[in-house]
Amino acid sequence: MPRVAPVLYEFAELDNGEYLKIAEAVFRIFDRQEWLRVNRARARIKVFVDKYGIDELRSQVEEELRGEWVGERDFSIEHRLFVDDERESAPAPPQSYGSPNGDAPEFERFRRANVRAQKQEGFVTVEAKVIRGDLTPEQFRGLAAIMRQYAGGYARTTVQQNFVLRWVREETVYDVWRALSALGLGDAGSREINDVVSCPGTDSCKLGITSSMGLNQAVQERIEAMHITDEITRALNVKISGCPNGCGQHHVGSIGFTGASIKVGEHTIPAYIPHVGGVFEGGDVKFGTRLKLRLPAKRVPDAIERWVGHYESARQDGEEWNDFVERVGTGELEGLVKDLSLPVDFGLETMNEFIDWNRSAPFQVIRGEGECAV
């Protein structure tokens, strides 16, 4: 399970390389913790902090920084800085550019949700929503062409599995949107409720319990079908991890899920443990509260629909999701989906529940040994 990182130092200097020195001191301390490597799942610095606390780590860092090794290092950063003036590669003002023609409402919605003004006047960033983080060769090439023609060239991927074009001339945003749409990447609402994040799960990962990519698709389809237009409802985000390790960032999602299972006699239902009220933006990090139930994987979209419906009908004026969760309490949210969490008996009619999303064979928990701490 992930942890919120405690603060080691409020401030470390950059220009004299102090940040490198402190980081290396931490690595050196962690590197000596043979006891952590006895069990691969515990070979993490968070386990050290759990056991000894951040103050003990800090005092060890202080001691480490008095070691001989410090004098043998070159922490100067001048020759290591990655210096790239992206403005130099920014496109020239366009000779001509397109403007909405019958598609103004859709474009306006995209512009409001996916486009941000840069601090450099006349330029904006455009965030393309990449569904489940997957890109085909055509999309890779198409994005490359858009980057060359309309952006500064050097783009960024995001931890929400999206793609940010930078140094786009404000006038050309409509053309960029059209070009992205032709690639299937022009959806409005990056980082909104239908921009679901997930790890690869059992599609490929040895540690995966459930098909997080399959649930991602199912949740996304359900949310699209709900036609949510309310802006503060759209501001929710859904994040899915196929196991408790948390690569899908479920712990910081407004609504998050971790892959699990429910035993029914000899059979097993793929399931998820819901978390609600996580925060990761605005300089704040808060893990969501884990609900005290498990939802069969196939019923997760129903649960989301009930929670969102209840939120929209019972919230106070302008009340954001996390404040709502705080006010009504997790018990109320559990109550809303209690019936969904009850497992069914294995049988022909209920077979669907025993098969994970995007799978055709009955579900089994198959977890290999990870390779993370080899």
């Binding site: 220009d15 980081a23 290396e24 690595f27 301390i29 962690f30 590197d31 000596r32 913790q33 043979e34 006891w35 070979a43 610095i45 050290f48 056991k51 003990e56 001691e63 480490e64 070691g67 001989e68 090794w69 950063i77 001048e78 020759h79 290591r80 800085l81 210096v83 790239d84 941000r116 601090k119 960033t125 489940r132 983080g133 997957d134 890109l135 085909t136 060769p137 090439r141 994005l143 490359a144 062409a145 980057m147 060359r148 060239g153 960024r156 991927t157 995001t158 931890v159 599995q161 994040v197 690869p200 490929s204 040895k206 995966g208 390790n245 899908g248 960032q249 390779e371 701490a373 080899v374």
Partner: protein
């Protein structure tokens, strides 16, 4: 606070990729010999000459991961602060078309791009071709400093105090240096059930491999995992091969 004295000239070329230059998308130096080594080691493993656990340590250092499906690999390309250029995007397209059965690349929740289901004999070709565009998977897995993430809006955000990009790049280069800026040192191992403390009592000696090479800052090749060792504290450590160490990796992987 604006960072002081960042030079704005000196954009380099790609002719000598081991020299740190300020070319977009080329934060991590590319080492051609790594691909030759990977070919050799994968060949030995496939021929049954290397035990699997030994080979796993080697391939992880090269960012080649195992999957739940046997005999296929995931390759994790590191994109420091998520930065990627048009040439690199086109290279991803080519590599995905040639070697990735599912015909897609996947943006991860740590700003990397990974590709799945690549048969091991193809993995060397894939990483070599990715390297042509300056894309590196070195230390994308295993006990290493993996990707260094950063705000995708760094440098253009209204509310930032300064642009973190140059410093994130320096961090990547310091901990992924091909020429570690430090002496190789052996270190006493202390099996312990409690957190061992650093102590000046811990006497260090120059390691055998450093003595042999006669250079304190030489690159070290790990005797066990055969990888060209890179990051700081494990560059070489006498009796203990680099792949057995575990200097970082504090979160779950993706």
């Amino acid at each position: 606070m604006e960072p002081v004295s960042i030079p704005t000239t000196g954009r380099g070329t790609l002719e000598d990729p081991e020299v740190l230059q300020n070319v977009p998308g080329h934060v991590i130096p590319i080492l051609q010999r790594e691909y030759d080594d990977f070919k050799t080691e994968a060949g030995k493993f496939l021929a049954g000459d290397t035990p699997e656990d030994e080979f796993i340590k080697f391939r992880l250092k090269q960012g080649v991961y195992g999957q739940r499906q046997p005999d296929v690999q995931m390759i994790r390309v590191k994109l420091p602060f998520g930065g990627v250029t048009p040439e690199q995007m086109e290279k991803f397209a080519d590599v995905v078309e040639k070697y990735v059965p599912l015909n897609k690349g996947h943006i991860t929740t740590r700003q990397n791009i990974q590709m799945h289901h690549i048969p091991l004999p193809e993995a060397e070709k894939a990483i070599r071709e990715l390297g042509e565009a300056g894309l590196s998977s070195r230390e994308g897995c295993g006990n290493t400093v993996r990707n260094v993430t950063g705000d995708p809006w760094a440098g253009v955000a209204h509310d930032e105090l300064f642009d973190l990009t140059p410093y994130a790049g320096a961090y990547v280069r310091y901990f992924g240096a091909t020429r570690p800026p430090r002496r190789c040192r052996a270190r006493s191992r202390r099996p312990s059930t409690r957190a061992p403390r650093a102590g000046r009592s811990q006497k260090s000696t120059t390691s055998p491999s450093a003595r042999e090479s006669g250079k304190s800052t030489a690159e070290a090749r790990c005797a066990a995992c055969r990888s060209w060792s890179a990051a700081a504290p494990r560059s070489c450590r006498g009796s203990r091969p680099c792949c057995m160490s575990s200097p970082s990796s504090t979160t779950a992987s993706t």
